[in-house]
């Protein structure tokens, strides 16, 4: 079984630019989650998709962040315009059932300069 794939693994952008992160979950996993870890802090929840629908987006920091999951397969997380405080590692995870442990991707390390 292929794991959760995230792209790119690293991204360095200037403040004000736009970046799009992509996550390919494990095939058949309806639940897809975005998390992020900023420097020195714990991993924090951003949002949860069930298939193509946003189940919970209470963790999205502001309207500069837009997540989509068209067709219920892969998901994208766009940050526009990026700010310095957006720097961190963005993780995607998927699960077949929300009651079980998630499978995480390796993350995208975003650096905004």
């Amino acid at each position: 079984e292929a794991g959760v794939t995230q792209f790119p693994s690293h991204s360095v952008i200037e403040k004000g630019q736009t970046v799009t992160l992509r996550c390919d979950p494990i095939s058949g996993h309806d639940n897809l989650y975005w998390y992020r870890r900023v420097m020195g802090k714990e991993i924090k929840f951003l949002l949860h998709f069930v298939k193509e629908s946003k189940q919970d987006e209470s963790g999205m920091p502001n309207n500069r962040f837009l997540a989509e999951r068209t067709g219920g397969t892969y998901s994208t997380l766009k940050v526009q315009p990026a700010e310095l405080e957006d720097s961190g590692v963005y993780f995607c995870a998927s699960s077949r059932d929300s009651n079980y442990g998630y499978t995480f991707g390796s993350g995208t390390r975003l650096t905004v300069v």
Partner: protein, 108 residues
């Protein structure tokens, strides 16, 4: 507000020196407590899920236990390859809340 606190922040052990990591939590309506292992540059790797107080799970040198207020991850006779950051997470309603992790280093 739901909280997850892990201690210690960092732990250095000699190979073979057993110890325990702690995860204290306050959450309304716990649905599950999860332990993950994270290696540098990688995403968290699932280890265990515990659902109710008194439950225990084991995997090789690791054993996780759960009470109503905390969970322990016991490491018996650790090896250098057990070095990693161990994350605890609790699931209440729909999302999973993580602790800051314990960075474990096992010296040969």
């Amino acid at each position: 507000e739901d909280q997850v606190t892990q201690s210690p922040e960092a732990l250095r052990l000699q190979e073979g020196e057993s110890s325990s990591l702690n995860c204290s939590y306050t959450v309304s309506g716990l649905r599950g407590l999860f332990w993950y292992r994270q290696d540098p540059g990688k995403g968290p790797e699932f280890l265990f899920t515990l659902y109710s107080a008194g439950e225990e799970k084991e995997k090789e040198r690791l054993k996780a236990t759960l009470t109503k207020k905390e969970s322990f991850l016991h490491i018996t006779a650790p090896k250098p390859e057990d070095s990693a950051t161990y994350l605890c997470a609790v699931q209440a309603m729909d999302d999973m809340r993580f602790g800051a992790g314990t960075r474990l280093t096992v010296k040969p």
